[in-house]
């Protein structure tokens, strides 16, 4: 292998990047998405690029493979991997580098592995392409690789198709395929974004182990917790340029640029309930809503048995899907009370029944046993016709709420659709404008299509839509999972402020424990359809009593104290 020979003689860094500029289009429509980016990675070193979507971090990574995309114009004073000049390499040379010298792990293995090919074929491809390995040799190597990335029963998994593997196993298989030919540099582009905390922790340990075996690692992430877990150095990108860089600890302490501090601030970990994330100011105390004292006063205390009536109350609800041996007990006997002005956080891994519980609370799924009361009135076990007039009292904000409406609708129509019936058109217009103002959006956005908005704006539209119906309780199902950290922080601050203003009750479903900790008064930890632990947030997080809670907490990547 010529690649090997060169690497043994070259003493420079594994990756040399100097003055990388990437633009698309030509003439007046030419846009530059990466501007004069320079950094290097040594063998056995992990450098992370952090930044929000559109900051150019992924394009930077793809340029290293010569895969910046069709029509990309890539210029660099030097762009070299292991001594090979990528910027001047032709198609054949580039193909020799890809997979052999540089490996790519992209996010979401569900779509990054070919669904029509067996795992073994996908994982073994680099060996076929770079080592001329025979089918038999590849099969043996694939099983070793799968075993190495921690996939149990590799002989079975190798013969399966990607859709038969869980998200975590798929991501491991994707890593196996990236490291099959033993590349010296690995590029991991958001490798854990779609994964549970526990699975994420496993993947990060695996990446850390590869780095310790002298592989250079370029990690792309918007999650500072992930970065803290593996990176040695961090490069902060914004609008295509590097704004800050330094050792991981220094960057997480705030770095040397205002934008870095903003990024670090957006992380909800360790920020107490009731403090705005972006400003770090305490939120104004709640206005007293007629007839009830906001639950806020009981915050921090073990006020499980509250005064007053719960707005949403579930007793012994259970739901099983399928039957016989295929039966899945999604929810198995859960009691839950949500009071006005309080947030209940529901945490647990995917498949734990969180979403089914949310659907039962919203009366979208009928429980097999148990009852749900909304505002003291029956909410489950009744006909939809009897529910319809009260539907507006219970709202939903999901990961990308406004994409679940007709894409041809304007923002204004999306919101107006949720308004109570029988309003005059003037009143409707006024309410839509108010709803947009409530979520800090420009009322002029009402004529736009949700598709033309940014992710954060769309999520605000989703919240405005939920609010327009004047709900008493809102189920927040992963409300910020699809958003960049600073945008997510803004949305969380908004939700918090709205709750204070209106005495809203929230059921917050999230796999992100730091979001739940920051937002919730009480938490319920779900495992296999059962609440294994519940209590005031701080009590559960600081002294978890159940083994599963302890394990969940151990897997949360933490930022070192600033």
């Amino acid at each position: 292998m010529s690649a090997r020979d060169v690497s043994e003689t070259s003493t420079g860094p594994l990756l040399e990047l100097d003055g990388l500029t990437v633009s698309f289009g030509s003439g007046s429509s030419r846009t530059t998405v990466v501007r004069d980016v320079s950094f290097s990675i040594a063998a056995g070193e992990c450098v992370a690029i952090v930044g929000e979507s559109g900051s150019g971090k992924s394009v930077t990574a793809r340029s290293i493979l010569g895969l910046a995309g069709p029509g990309a114009i890539v210029e660099a004073r030097r762009l070299a991997v292991d001594g090979h000049d990528v910027s001047r390499a032709g198609g054949r040379e580039l193909r020799r580098l890809r997979g052999d010298v540089v490996g790519l792990i992209s996010q979401d293995a569900l779509v990054s592995l070919d669904p029509l090919r067996r795992v073994a074929a996908e994982v073994g491809d680099p060996l076929r392409l770079h080592r001329d390995a025979s089918r038999r040799e590849r099969d043996g190597a694939v099983i070793e690789l799968l075993d190495r990335v921690g996939i149990p029963r590799p002989e079975v998994r190798a013969r399966q198709y990607p859709h038969q593997l869980s998200g975590g196993l798929r991501q491991r298989a994707l890593i196996a395929s990236a490291i099959a030919a033993g590349p010296r540099l690995l590029i991991a582009d958001e490798p854990t974004t779609a994964l549970d905390m526990t699975v994420q922790a496993g993947i990060l340990r695996l990446l850390g182990a590869l780095r310790d075996e002298d592989t250079g690692l370029l990690l792309i992430s918007h999650d500072l917790g992930v970065v803290a877990a593996v990176a040695d150095r961090v490069v902060v990108m914004r609008n295509g340029s590097i704004v800050d860089e330094g050792a991981t600890a220094a960057i997480l302490a705030g770095g040397s640029h205002a934008y870095t501090r903003q990024l670090v601030r957006a992380v909800p970990a360790g920020v107490p309930r009731g403090t705005a994330l972006l400003s770090r100011e305490p939120l104004p105390t709640a206005t007293t809503i007629a007839g009830h004292t906001p639950a806020r006063e009981g915050r921090g205390g073990a006020s499980l048995d509250r005064e007053g009536r719960a707005v949403l109350s579930a007793r012994g609800v259970a739901k099983t899907f399928g039957h016989g041996t295929d039966a899945t007990h999604a929810v198995r006997g859960i009691d839950l009370d949500v009071h006005p002005g309080e947030t209940i956080g529901v945490v647990g891994e995917s498949g734990g029944g969180k979403t089914t519980l949310g659907r039962i609370l919203l009366a979208l799924t009928e429980p097999d046993v148990g009852t749900v009361l909304l505002d003291g009135e029956p909410w489950s076990g009744i006909r939809e016709r009897e529910r319809r007039s009260r539907r507006r009292l219970a709202g939903l904000v999901s990961q990308d709420t406004s994409s679940s409406v007709d894409p041809r609708w304007s923002v204004g129509r999306v919101i107006a659709d949720a308004l109570p019936p029988r309003l005059t058109s003037d009143e409707r217009r006024r309410r839509v404008r108010d709803a947009l103002a409530d979520v800090a959006l420009d009322p002029d956005l009402r004529t736009r299509s949700p598709r033309t908005l940014s992710g954060g704006q769309r999520q605000r539209v989703g919240i405005a839509r939920a609010l327009a119906a004047e709900p008493r309780v809102i189920v927040l199902d992963e409300p910020v999972s699809a958003l960049d950290a600073t945008v997510a922080a803004g949305v969380l601050d908004l939700l918090d402020a709205l709750q204070r203003d209106r005495g809203l009750a929230y059921v917050l479903i999230s796999h992100d424990l730091s979001v739940v900790r920051h937002m919730s008064d009480r938490v319920a930890v779900m495992l296999d359809g059962v609440v294994v632990e519940t209590g005031p947030t701080e009590a559960v997080f600081s002294s978890p009593s159940h083994e599963y809670t302890r394990r969940l907490l151990a897997d949360v990547p933490v930022l070192p104290p600033a």
Partner: protein, 318 residues
């Protein structure tokens, strides 16, 4: 895992058989009532149509013999029972058992349609691969070729092909006899419109596959552009076209009516045309049922092929 797979296949087979039975029964019912809805006396039709000037006694005898004097529902029951016995009746015009007429004509048409479908697939794959290099001009040319090809009527295409390759160049006979050379022009005539249509569908899904994240993963492993197409994208491209092939076959049998007439080729299409013209109800019924049967069998075959190519369907738990 193996048990689940076997069970899933068994369940699929049972479901397919049931569906096939329902489709055949529905086709038989439809054709029975539609032929009765046509105005005119069925007894007269049985004796050769209004032109035959049949006597009143002859008509009565025929009514008695075929049960036309019975209530419609009884006639329907009798027709269904006859079908269950695989008795298709006797042709009014040819005085031959319908089964024998079908036996003579079906193989020719099926060979014609199968060859046309295979040729259409080959042409579509070639067109797809040739046009999928991502250039805008290439895509525009591809679009034009595919749309023109799928819009060309069979009778026009057949006539042009005869004019050029038989009359002009004398490469192939203008009349399709039993020889392989005689098959070429009819098969090409039938295949070209379907090829354009299949290529259009394939190219759409091929482009989609080439833009998907797994294509980036493959390229990042060092896969060549050709390898990306042959090992990854082509399978994705073939899936929707595979699903449409059963439908395409139905279209081909319909097109065979025209093509067999142009090339004076004996077959199902021509039998149907003649039978409809003289209101030969038993033959029409037989032809429709055989077409439905072929269509059902092909649906099952393409379904099985789809399950073979797409593992996500094969292991789907229902």
């Amino acid at each position: 895992m193996h048990g689940t797979r076997a069970r899933s296949v068994a369940r699929w087979a049972a479901r397919s058989a049931l569906r096939a039975a329902v489709v055949l029964w529905a086709s038989a019912t439809l054709v029975f009532f539609i032929t009765r809805l046509v105005p005119g006396d069925p007894a007269e039709a049985a004796l050769g149509g209004p032109g035959s000037q049949a006597s009143e006694e002859a008509l009565a005898a025929v009514r008695e013999r075929f049960g036309f004097d019975q209530p419609l529902i009884v006639q329907y029951g009798m027709a269904m029972l006859a079908l269950l016995r695989l008795d298709l009746g006797t042709s009014y015009s040819l005085r031959q058992p319908v089964a024998q007429i079908l036996g003579d004509t079906v193989p020719g048409t099926v060979i014609l349609a199968v060859l046309a479908l295979l040729l259409a697939w080959v042409l579509a794959l070639a067109l797809t691969l040739a046009q999928s290099r991502g250039s805008r001009v290439g895509a525009a040319v591809g679009d034009t070729v595919e749309i023109v090809a799928s819009a060309v009527p069979h009778f026009w295409l057949g006539t042009i092909l005869i004019a050029v390759f038989s009359t002009g160049l004398s490469w192939f006979p203008p009349v399709s006899t039993g020889t392989p050379a005689g098959l070429v022009l009819p098969v090409v005539t039938l295949a070209i419109p379907i090829a354009g249509f299949l290529a259009h569908v394939m190219r759409g899904s091929l482009d989609e596959a080439l833009r998907s994240p797994f294509a980036v993963s493959a390229l990042a492993r060092g896969e060549t552009e050709t390898g990306l197409r042959s090992r990854h994208a082509l399978r994705h491209a073939a899936l929707p076209a595979l699903g449409l092939s059963a439908w395409a076959f139905g279209y081909l049998v319909g097109g065979a009516v025209v093509v067999e007439t142009i090339f004076a080729r004996p077959g199902l299409g021509r039998s149907l045309l003649q039978a409809v013209t003289v209101r030969d109800v038993p033959v029409v019924t037989g032809v429709v049922l055989v077409s439905a049967l072929v269509y059902v069998v092909l649906t099952i075959v393409t379904d099985a092929l789809t399950r073979l190519v797409d593992p996500r369907i094969a292991t789907e738990v229902r």
